[in-house]
């Protein structure tokens, strides 16, 4: 049984909650980007103040130290997701860049006109647009797994969709609906059909124990800034045998072993995929973010988010009845701490603006998932998302602010 999170103590780790404001900060937008603990900020500052130099180049002491810290953070991050080897941990800017890497490197090497790639209708644009670009470039076919009315994947025709497909690329957790997809089962079915399995784990890795070996994917992408780490660093994990067959994505510094005027030899893994000076301080910061998350306990974080999300669904539906509609599954076992909702027919922008007046930060818009938003039959949603520093008091603040919102618009 996981220990409960001590939210009161955890909030003290985050300097942003110490800032004196007109109204206390009720931050419910961690699905867009989480706040940063003091330990991460300090580690990055300390690195810059004491031992910054470029990595993999200088032979002087601080350059050796910078390289050691960068590479040890890679190993740390690999352990965080139970990667068999740090050679399988590649750093990019974010999930969007990782998905472009996969499409342009694996895709161009393995797909021909008419080949099929299967996606789902709940994908973030990061897992749609790179494939649409490949469709324009190569003439591949895209197939989409649909959704049920409950906001879960409709798997009734999955075998048909996977038939002859070369890849199945899907999200582990929806950034709009909160839906948790059965990654292992989907990966097994895709593998049985001979497809490569690519997983967008941006909303998964920050919130629960991640074991890339148990999940069964071939490639899995996530980002640092949603898991207490800095912006500017994304991670792509891939099975070594697969990564070895993939050509480089971006060309330039650091990713080569040799360059002549008429050709080049790429570097070995993982540097083959890391062109140019990498985000050194960011990778170091992300390593410390892993420490912090493990100190809190990933199982405890998952339990905590279930508890707060369940409380939110109960409180808000009891208080507002039909005026409050959740998009996505209601069962917390089937969902993460992302709660998209409609309120009294108000436009999410107006809801978000009035909530801001109460210090409550929620996201409003299409959440970079326009096909999904169209599928829901709305123009946009308001979205509250919960993390380690949120608790039931934040939900109560949201409920009170929604009350004021209804009053303000005379509804």
């Amino acid at each position: 049984m996981a220990m409960n999170l001590d939210v009161h103590a955890i909030r003290k780790d985050f300097p942003i909650f110490d800032v004196v404001r007109e109204r206390p900060l009720v931050f419910l937008d961690s699905a867009a980007s989480s706040q940063k603990p003091r330990a991460v900020i300090d580690a990055m500052t300390e690195y810059y103040e004491t031992t910054h130099a470029n990595v993999h180049r200088g032979v002087y002491a601080i350059a050796e130290e910078a390289t050691a810290r960068y590479e040890s953070a890679r190993a740390r991050i690999g352990r965080f997701v139970n990667a068999p080897s740090e050679r399988e941990i590649l750093f990019s800017k974010n999930v969007t860049e990782s998905m472009n890497l996969v499409a342009q490197s694996w895709g161009r090497a393995n797909l021909r006109a008419g080949d099929a790639v299967v996606l789902t209708q709940m994908e973030h644009h990061a897992n749609i647009v790179p494939w649409l670009m490949l469709k324009e470039q190569l003439g591949i076919e895209l197939r989409y797994v649909g959704l049920t009315d409950d906001g879960v994947l409709d798997l009734s025709n999955l075998d048909e969709l996977l038939d002859g497909a070369k890849a199945f690329s899907f999200t582990a957790a929806s950034n709009v609906l909160g839906t948790l997809n059965p990654v292992r089962a989907l990966a097994d079915r895709a593998h049985a059909a001979g497809a490569v399995v690519i997983v967008d784990a941006a909303q998964f890795v920050p919130h629960m124990t991640t074991d890339v070996q148990a999940m069964g994917a071939d490639l899995l992408a996530w980002t640092g800034h949603k898991m207490l780490g800095p912006t500017g660093v994304g991670v792509l994990w891939g099975r070594e045998e697969l990564l070895d067959t993939m050509p480089p994505f971006l060309g330039g510094g650091d990713m080569i072993r040799d360059v002549r005027l008429d050709g080049f030899v790429p570097n070995e893994l993982p540097w083959k995929f890391e062109a140019g000076t990498p985000p050194i301080a960011e990778v170091i910061g992300l390593g410390v973010a892993c420490d912090e998350l493990e100190r809190y306990g990933l199982d405890a974080i998952r339990e905590h988010e279930k508890q707060v999300t369940g409380y939110a669904i109960r409180t808000l539906t009891e208080r507002f009845g039909d005026d409050f509609t959740v998009h996505g599954p209601l069962d917390v076992e089937q969902r993460g701490g992302v709660l998209s909702f409609a309120f009294k027919g108000l436009h999410p922008h107006d809801v978000s603006q009035v909530l801001d007046e109460s210090g409550v930060c929620v996201r409003a818009g299409h959440h970079c998932a326009k096909p999904l938003i169209r599928c829901l039959g709305v123009g946009a949603t308001a979205r509250a998302s919960f993390y380690v520093y949120n608790d039931e008091a934040d939900v109560d603040a949201l409920a009170a602010a929604l009350d004021r919102c209804g009053d303000f618009f005379g509804l």
Binding site: L346, H349, I373, G379, F408
Partner: protein
């Protein structure tokens, strides 16, 4: 810090709750044009009927937030019955209001900006209620969506 009352003035809320000129026009003779706000997903459809250089009728469709909807409603009331040239002048004046430099809000003179110069003869009337939107920069695109869409429509009518 600007308050909600700066943004949601009573007249704006009135146009939001009771939008004017909501609906569709037959095309042709009317011209139909769509506008999108890619950031928030707002979509607007403007139907505009131009005869003899005059906007004889206008209808608004689509969906969006209170600012984009009320701005579209106020726009439709303001340009209906006006000549195309008058509507263009009004559009320039409204966009100038929306691009007003922040220093002006704080009492500065706003010089040194690329703010378009509105015709001083053009009277915005009720539309000035939308001035508070400027204090909420991300919402400016909501307010200008219908105007940009109208401008596009009038251009298309002029050069079919």
């Amino acid at each position: 810090m600007p308050g909600l009352e700066d943004l949601y003035r009573e007249i704006i809320l009135d146009h939001y709750r009771n939008p004017r000129n909501r609906g569709e026009l037959e095309t042709p003779p009317a011209h139909r044009v769509e506008g999108f706000n890619p950031l928030c997903g707002d979509e607007i459809v403007v139907y505009v009927d131009v005869e003899g250089g005059k906007i004889t009728d206008i209808k608004i469709g689509g969906q969006g937030c209170s600012i984009s909807q009320s701005s579209a409603s106020m726009m439709s009331s303001a340009v209906k019955g006006k000549t195309v040239e008058e509507a263009r002048a009004l559009t320039r004046a409204f966009k100038a209001l929306m691009t007003i430099h922040e220093s002006r809000l704080d009492g500065g003179d706003g010089s040194g900006t690329d703010t378009p110069t509105p015709d001083p003869e053009v009277k915005l009337g009720d539309l000035e209620a939308l001035q508070g939107v400027v204090k909420f920069p991300v919402r400016i695109k909501c307010a200008t969506l219908s105007w940009n869409t109208l401008a596009q429509g009038l251009d298309e009518v002029a050069t079919p």
